[in-house]
Symmetry: D2
Subunit: 346 residues, 4 copies
């Protein structure tokens, strides 16, 4: 019996490339077609030497597949996805085009009018830890953004249980690969090396996604999220340090309160294969190359602040790995298949 076939639209960015790496080591699916306008006709190994042993040529149009990943840029992906859905192909969309439920958000944050607002409700937000069953039966999954993945997993237990006040600060530190493979002065080596800076202070596009999901976790409370991303001189990894005031009386004082928090996280993510609750502050390096999200929560008792920190590999749990986790669910394959790799350290 033949294996399920999959394909990738726009393989030439870092997310597409990482999908190839993971898929070609996946035992249950077969990667049979990849596209990429600028590199059409080239063999994969000409564009990505580390993938040279794969026998794949980049095409203009996607061949026949059971499931496709779209790694098209925001605004262009939706059109491709619509075509695929019409062909009956299941889709995991890596772009933001189906993440937001309210079509009015697209002109505001992404500067385009959504071509298929009716599909936004049908699309499932692909964070398996929150939407596992919906993903499993979905035709179209919107793969979460890298920042939202880390931030939502960090905050979900506290928000859902109503243990924190709605005023939340998320201070994120991202490796440079999060900015993609498109060259720019901002990602020119000599400009980024030995440097840290905040960016997108007027509002990062991942903000509405974070707010939407936190709101869905506790509809009675509008979250007030201040989100500031920073660019860090490293290639991979996102560390998100989240701050919020604990609702007084909801958590015990001292060590006991910290233990309660830890237990809450352990319970919330019990049986989650890709979320680990640590007893110490996570390092991005402990996730490099793996699909894990590491979490640590503590309380600053002097100020009554929850501090919860998450660490992911932005290209894996923050993009390609999560996309495959979603694919596994959609195809009825065990969720961790092809995603068992441990982090590469040091």
């Amino acid at each position: 019996m033949s294996r399920t076939t999959v394909g990738i639209i726009n393989v030439t960015g870092y997310a597409g490339m990482e999908l190839v790496r993971l898929l070609c080591q996946h035992p249950e699916v077969e990667l049979v077609s990849v596209t990429g306008r600028s590199a059409a006709g080239k063999r994969l190994g000409q564009v990505f030497p580390h993938l040279a042993q794969l026998d794949l040529t980049i095409e203009v149009e996607l061949g026949n597949v059971d499931l496709a990943f779209s790694a098209m840029p925001h605004g262009e992906s939706a059109k491709e996805v619509i075509l695929l859905l019409n062909r009956g192909v299941k889709v995991v969309d890596i772009s933001a085009d189906f993440r937001l439920k309210d079509s009015a958000e697209y002109p505001r944050w992404y500067e385009f009018s959504h071509p298929a607002p009716q599909l936004l409700k049908q699309a499932v937000y692909g964070l398996p830890e929150l939407y596992r069953s919906q993903v499993a039966s979905a035709q179209l999954v919107a793969n979460p953004g890298c920042y939202p993945t880390g931030a939502i997993l960090a905050l979900a237990p506290m928000v859902k249980e109503g243990l924190i006040k709605p005023d939340i600060v998320i201070d994120s530190k991202s490796g440079v690969s999060g900015a993609g493979r498109t060259i720019s002065l901002e990602t020119h080596y000599s400009e980024v090396n030995e440097d840290v800076a905040a960016y997108a202070l007027v509002g990062h596009r991942h903000l509405p996604e974070i707010i939407q999901e936190l709101k869905l976790l506790r509809p009675e409370q509008l979250p007030l999220v201040t989100f500031v991303p920073h660019l860090i001189p490293m290639t991979r990894g996102i560390l998100s340090t989240c701050y919020a005031s604990i609702v007084s009386g909801k958590v015990a004082a001292g060590k006991k309160g910290e233990e309660e928090l830890r237990q809450l996280y352990l319970d919330f993510y019990r049986d989650e294969p890709f979320v680990k609750i640590l007893e110490f502050s996570p390092h991005t390096k402990h996730t490099l190359g793996s699909n894990l999200c590491l979490l640590y929560s503590t309380i600053d008792h002097r100020t009554g602040k929850l501090i919860v920190i998450s660490s992911i590999d932005n290209l894996i749990k923050g993009a390609a790995g999560q996309a495959i986790q979603n694919m596994n669910l959609m195809l009825g394959i065990p969720e961790t298949t092809g995603l068992e790799a441990l982090a590469i350290y040091p």
Copy 2:
């Protein structure tokens, strides 16, 4: 007429070493004596090849000087400083031993009983932007910590004017040289490279210093500071991203409010040679090698949050440069003398 003579106690750490580099290019003082127990008898250039052209031998005891810098570790510096003061020598103490006004803080944060509590009131906290005239007439100046320098300069105008609520989050990102020259697994190259992590979540020693100074800026309001430092894979630089809620009604809405803030900072730091108010978010790389503190303030209007970001070179404005700025003031030398170097970029 002979120039003023200066010396350094414990020259073998990064702060001591950086003092040498800056002092030997200073036109108004002469560095005549440096000490360092572990390296006594060696020429400076044997320990620090980039200082090889200096004709100085590391001694056991400090020679005769008009002013001394102590770069001894916390807890050991106080004893040396007391001896120097008794000899009539002016002192800039790089350690934390005279930064905190309340001697009870030392056992709590630094695990030692202060040997000369009476000197704590006499010592001047060496942040010239706040204490210029006191520094000028001081016998003993306590040079601020690297994190406090960036954080206090970022927050001072807002705190002093009472424009923000007392609940403040300071999320700092530091280069690894901030951890000093003492080797450890935490600063082993392969462990730190390609990694970001928070540390000191139970309370960093620089916290009481930040709280003390913010409180002095507005005694009627107890600041509630949550401070989380992070280690970044770069050598120099600290970026501090500070968050606080703006007191409602105190700042105008929209762009007008941002302009008001900017004007407040421009006014507060008018004539300050080493504080620059930017119109964009600062990079640590723009301060590397210089004594500047770069500041940028903005408002997240959705959440009513002030976001103010400061950038310094932790070894210069955060240590040796500020110490020389203090020395200049104490000796009646123009404040910027020997500190004119522009940042090295890229």
Copy 3:
């Protein structure tokens, strides 16, 4: 039927740690015992958080295993290996203790007298590309050093065919993890970052190993190897740039000569699963996380010089990966088992 059991002596260095990561994902063997004096009694995840999901406690003594890896330091490993061989356990020794055939080299290069010179002849030098069949039947395999692996694979075809003169320059660039997990000022982050330097100019310990193997490839010609390693501000990877004069008349002029060379390499490494002959200069990043050795050869026709460049991940093909490749051969398991991972890029 139970799987073959394996163990690791001294798991607490980078090579030991990397062995764990690779072995626990290996489908044909079971890692049942790991030792480490300093960390005995701790669970693996306490020392290496990225290995936290493994259920292994670090022991003082190795339990019963079919095959053991020794990751003991040079000079200490031999004693452990002798005990293991006496117990009938197969051994892959990661240290240098059985790499050199001439016991007189040990006092000279490693400052100890070899405790079992008779075993040196029996031990097989574990470079499968040269000694596959001997490895397959060996009781004791001496796993090659990281520099020799890259250098020998780069030069072997030319030396064996007698196409180059014996005067060879090997200029190697290594990531810092090659210096191990033991802390030192030389590997302190702030000292190594933004820096390149040569080291071991009086003669690196890997030099006799390189000479021994090149000599064995062409006994009639004594190789004259000048080897200079450099430390590079990255964690993993070794790039070796090798230079030698081509014997005149042996290779065609111009492009044709380059093609001849390329064909020679293709033929020499035909069917080798872990050696790839490229058409462009290799990057260390293209091997990060994989067991590949990438090779590229060219000729500087103006000077008649062969330039051949090899790239490996020093902790994989240069240590743990090659050790597992050897283990596979010794146990009759397909050679690539557990080593299929593609490089992580970028």
Copy 4:
């Protein structure tokens, strides 16, 4: 009396930018005009925030100056230089357009026909250590390339004295700023970080410059130079490791030979303010921010090979600093003026 005025053509690259930083701290000249087509009309601080305190606007045409630096790209610089010379302005050309004496080399290596071959003889190759007096009286100085500066200074004493055979290998390791400020995939952060690779294996443009100067040092011997540059994940610095066989009988055996070599270098560079002969292998970090060239020579007695290593900051001694050193000589200013800064370490 007014100070000498200077200007920079094409200030928007890294060399131009570094010239500004150094010139505006120079006490004897005044930077009065800078040009840059793409950024004309902008204030310098808008393009380079670290230069924000300078009151300079980027112009389309250079104003009146006594001396101009051209930082135009190769092939475009010559035209500008000709115009300046016609105006009677002294010129230091940072480009390669006047470095090669033989106009036939330009089509071959730089793909353009030289517009003023007659000027090539008149132009002085601006390596002050070799051509100090000629520079002092020159109207036009061709500032050396970054690789040639380090390589020629490393090899000059040995070549001039005829102590080495003509077959020379230069293996250079450069920081990424050497590739300039123009963005490309090759200098995209995520591609270069954690990576080392050789490049320009078919022949780097700096090669004819190295050969020309080595030949001039010893006209009776044609040097056979194999030069391979490598890109290193750091911003600044070039380390060049040079290899050549010592002519037998010319240097003593053992330690005595090494001492003879060291003495040769000490004598050759006696009184040179910017060349230091070390007793250990140099680090690029020991030159960061300074105009120094550090040299170390040794002998591999087993192979009879000279190994000499040089370290420079590619943007200072390798570009802008050397240009100012040349300017000082041309204007009769003490050679080290404005170039006294020590390296920034760590």
